[in-house]
């Protein structure tokens, strides 16, 4: 898959230049300097030879069509070069040239011309406006990167080319081994999903790492990442998550940066591990590429100093990871091997005067303990510390161990050679304990994810009546369904709603009151009033006709005086529901990943407390249960101080049903059920207030008759 981009037998550099100051010269030289074994042909109509290599006037003059074209000519000339590639059968092209979509509509036109010259995939294109490809196995450096990192098992795709080359430069010094690196540029053809597909199948890649400001195609990304993450970790740094950062990313990539919660939900669905900083991205990658993945969650900490071990322990707790509880045999063994002042329980503090032998004895005991899934070994430099000897012990113990053993040599010059020893032996290590624990925690999370991964599926059939209802009200303009119609839509999905209807006069209200039975609730119905309580738009506990008449007047008068321009559609009369836990269930359609299901504590405090969680739709009952447990107010659902628990089965049914409705009916942009009142176990959940936002369908042109 995409092999010619990484190990071509022959490469043409179109726009190769004699002038060392030019990109075309640099790329041509870079391809020849490394130990790349393929043939490299310079293409330039104005040169006979470059650096002693025969130059061709055009790519079609090369006797045998090259497998890969690296293009560095001005943007306007690129479509013709791609056309030529398509004609002679060169199926892969890296377009380094800038001046396309990123510059405005005329550049976007050139990009379209370039794609149509590629004849529907006869030529696969990386870029344009990218910094190229580096493949350490084949020695290929078709990029602007001045340095090529050491070979390794991390494959890295970056939407920012410059960030990528900076990392390649840094990787060598940091002991990070790279297999393949790709700069995406404008993603006119090849996207991150193509590379994830390739690396999922590539035995030389152990870890897939990506820096992304946006995802090109949400569905494809999730499908590719979900497949890949079952085989190897996929770690993504998503930039542009703050408001200002999103703006910066948007003007850089031309796509909405997307909401952070939607990315979290999508990554969770796809099994993608999220890094929050570049440092984390490569900390995690390093751990995955050099240490075996822990198969449990018990971490053991071995240290020659108390403070760093306490920091590491704090960090474990923050990740919700317990320290391993040693078995009695382990403690016995440690007691025999260690001085009396040592701390035998996890974290094991073997004191400042520790020798390499003391570390080795401790490893022997700890690694044999079945409750230990990972070991962090902390070394602080003290006068009596022989850091090199301890490093040698770690290398010996780590090699061949199925349990990951991570090093943390704190300090600088006194531990420099020890660190080098670990680096050369390919043992993951970190300068500070927190980073080491963060990396171990990520590995543990990956393992946990891989054992319980299953994709929720849609049942056959679905809420077809609900769909028909929405189709019936959808017009050419976007609108909101509220009141009784919205209630009917969710009722069709099997969610209970209070009996009621819409009144446009006090007489109608009274008729409804009689039908549903007192007590009733009167609520203002207006597409312009989102927060009804703010405008005094709800009256509850109405007991008879007199009260209902005055409530009808009150909600309309208040709405008119407080929201002058609001369109008032009537008053929604509903039977009053017994109190219960008020939760909110919602849908928000993300432009990249589609409908997101929201769940949280409901009622009037939603906006203030923001105790809500998101998942991609559809969800199954397990995920619905997980969502409930994820909110801070979960104990309230379970019942505090002798309260009965809420009917969580009914709540889970509602979450599953709403998530399916959003998938089934793509016209739905938003749903807000607030509150959904959940009664005690066995008594169900009732959607009291429902608002559905639907997208406009394509407008039908109106035919006008002539006026005079």
């Amino acid at each position: 898959m995409l092999d010619a981009f990484f190990s071509p037998r022959s490469v043409a550099v179109v726009g190769a230049a004699r002038d060392p100051g030019k990109v075309g010269h640099f790329v041509f030289s870079a391809l020849r300097v490394q130990d790349f074994r393929g043939t490299v042909h310079p293409v330039n109509p104005h040169a006979e030879e470059i650096d002693g290599v025969r130059c061709f006037a055009s790519i079609s003059d090369i006797p045998e069509p090259p497998e890969l074209a690296v293009i560095a000519v001005p943007a306007a000339a690129v479509p013709a070069v791609i056309e030529e590639c398509a004609r002679i059968g060169t199926g892969s092209a890296i377009v380094l040239s800038a001046g396309f979509k990123e510059t405005g509509p005329s550049g976007a036109g050139l990009e379209r011309d370039m794609l149509s010259a590629a004849r529907g995939g006869a030529v696969r294109i990386l870029g344009p406006n990218c910094l190229g490809v580096v493949a350490t196995r084949s020695g290929l450096n078709a990029s602007f990167s001045a340095s090529v990192p050491p070979a390794g098992s991390i494959s890295f795709v970056s939407q920012s080319g410059a960030l990528g080359t900076a990392i390649l430069d840094w990787a060598g010094g940091a002991g990070i081994g790279i297999n393949e690196f790709v700069s995406l540029g404008n993603r006119s053809d090849i996207t991150e999903a193509d590379l994830i597909d390739r690396w999922a199948e590539d035995p030389a890649t152990d870890v897939i790492v990506a820096y992304l400001e946006s995802v090109a195609h949400g569905d494809r990304f999730i499908a590719s990442a979900a497949r890949a993450s079952l085989r190897k970790p996929v770690i993504v740094l998503k930039a542009g998550i703050s408001e200002a950062g999103a703006r910066a990313a948007s003007s850089h990539t031309g796509s909405l940066s997307g909401s952070s919660v939607a990315y979290d939900a999508a990554f969770r669905r796809a099994g993608v591990l999220r890094a929050n900083t570049v440092e984390e991205l490569f900390d995690f990658a390093l751990a995955f590429s050099q240490a075996p993945i822990p198969t449990g969650s018990g971490i053991a900490i071995l240290t020659n100093a108390g403070g760093p071990a306490v920091l590491a322990t704090d960090r474990c707790e923050r990740h919700g990871l317990p320290l391993a509880s040693f078995r009695s045999e382990t403690i016995e063994k440690l007691r025999e091997a260690l001085p009396a002042a040592a701390s035998l329980y996890n974290p094991v503090d073997i004191l400042g005067d520790s020798s390499a032998q003391r570390y080795d004895d401790s490893f022997e005991a700890i690694l044999a303990d079945g409750s230990v899934s990972a070991v962090l070994c902390i070394v602080t430099p003290q006068v009596m510390t022989d850091a090199d000897a301890i490093a040698a012990t770690i290398v010996k113990r780590a090699s061949g161990s199925p349990i990951p053993l991570i090093g943390c040599f704190m300090g600088d010059t006194s531990v420099e050679s020890a660190r080098r020893m670990l680096r050369e032996a390919g043992i993951a290590q970190y300068a500070f304990p927190e980073r080491a624990i963060d990396s171990l925690a990520t590995m543990i999370r990956y393992h946990a994810m891989s054992v319980r991964r299953e994709q929720p599926t849609l049942p056959i059939g679905g809420p077809s009546t609900a769909r028909a209802l929405i189709d019936a009200v959808s017009t050419e303009r976007a609108s909101f369904i509220t009141g009784q119609t919205a209630a009917r839509v969710v009722a069709e999905c099997g969610i209970a709603v209070p009996d009621g209807g819409i009144a446009t006069s006090a007489d109608e209200a009274v008729a409804l009151g009689l039908r549903v039975g007192y007590p009733v609730v009167a609520k203002i119905l207006s597409p312009d009033i989102l927060h009804k309580t703010d405008t005094g738009g709800i009256v509850t506990g109405i007991r008879d006709e007199t009260e209902l008449r005055s409530a009808y007047d009150a909600v309309i008068s208040r709405a008119r005086s407080l929201a002058k321009d609001a369109v008032i559609l009537g008053v929604h009369i509903q039977s009053q529901i017994a109190p219960g836990r008020e939760v909110i269930v919602g849908i928000d359609r993300d432009p990249t990943f589609g409908p997101m299901l929201m769940f949280g504590l409901g009622g009037v405090y939603v906006e203030t407390l923001r105790d809500v969680v998101f998942r991609m739709c559809p969800v199954d009952h397990n995920e619905a249960r997980e969502m409930m447990a994820d909110i801070r107010a979960y104990p309230l659902l379970r019942g505090v101080r002798g309260e009965p628990a809420a009917d969580m089965d009914a709540l889970a049914d509602a979450l599953v049903a709403i998530s399916r409705l959003a998938v089934e009916v793509p016209l739905i942009e938003e749903i807000d059920i607030n509150p959904l009142i959940v009664g005690p176990v066995g008594s169900g959940a009732i959607a009291v207030d429902v608002r559905i936002g639907i997208a406009g369908v394509a407008p039908v042109a109106k035919k006008g008759s002539s006026v005079l």
Binding site: P105, A246, S250, P591, L708
Partner: protein
Amino acid sequence: MNTLIVASTRPYAGKSGICLSLLGMLADRSVRAGYFKPYGTMPVTVDGVLTDQDAAYIAGKAPVRPPIESVCPVVETPHVVEDLIAGRSGDAQGLVRSAYRAASEHADAMVVEGTSELAQGATFGIHLCAMAELLDARVLLVDRPEHVSVPDPVIWASECLGQRLIGVVFNAVPEQLIRFAQSDVATYLSGRGITTFGVLEHDPLLSSVSVAEIVDSLGATVLSAEGNLDVPVESFMVGAMGQEKALRFFRRKARKAVITGGDRADVQLAALETDTRCIVLTGNLPPSGIVLSRAEELGVPMLLVESDTLSTVEAMEGLLGRVRLHDPVKAARMREMFETAVDTDALMAAAYGL
């Protein structure tokens, strides 16, 4: 000669559109119909003659074209107001009478666009009731109800006009008030001897402006999708929030213009995700090239203006506030709606005996 004054209870009720529709219907019946507007508030000079902007346009569409100087004899300008207050003005009634004579000379039926409020023109002695007497005309009242309320202006007009009032048309009625106007109010008015000829629903297309009109009015530079300037814009929204809120916010309105800064790429992209007809970039800050490419791809014009957001908003409010019937598509749409919703036979019979 049969003369019908089309007057309204409040400004922007849709008189001009109804006048145009009536002229069209009279033309279809081969009636030589003329147009006259005694009192104008939108001064414009045509061929050296001070007249009213809408009146000049509508008169140009009438089957019988009056001389331009007699289309609108009294035009309210600061100068005219000063003279009147200082007691320097002449005989407005006489002015109207002679202009009307000239305007109606070759016509068999007249459509007179009356005042926008019942009291308008009273200072000149040419308020609606005086005018009806002066021109010996019948009156069709246009009312635009906004919420459930009693029809005070209609009743008041009926008491002043007596038999001269032939009835009322409710125009631009919000969807949720249609039933109220059609059954409750019409039944009540009928009980008091007032005919309701029809109820026209509010149509956002009528109060829309084209992107090209926005470009002209704001003096904007078009940066993308120059081929899509003729699409109608029905509303506008100002984008100053983060991208997550922007998306939910922009979904609330269709066929809109979005006003934001050129540096707000996130807001621009969110607007492009929703039903947006053009994006107005304020403060003369050009957008990023890649966002511009996206707008071009989606066919959404991006308009660059020098003014700040506040003044742009004010200009847009002025633009979208009223119906412009100079656009033939809108005029046609207005007539189509008028003929569908109004009992035109009854109206023609009551107004012109046709």
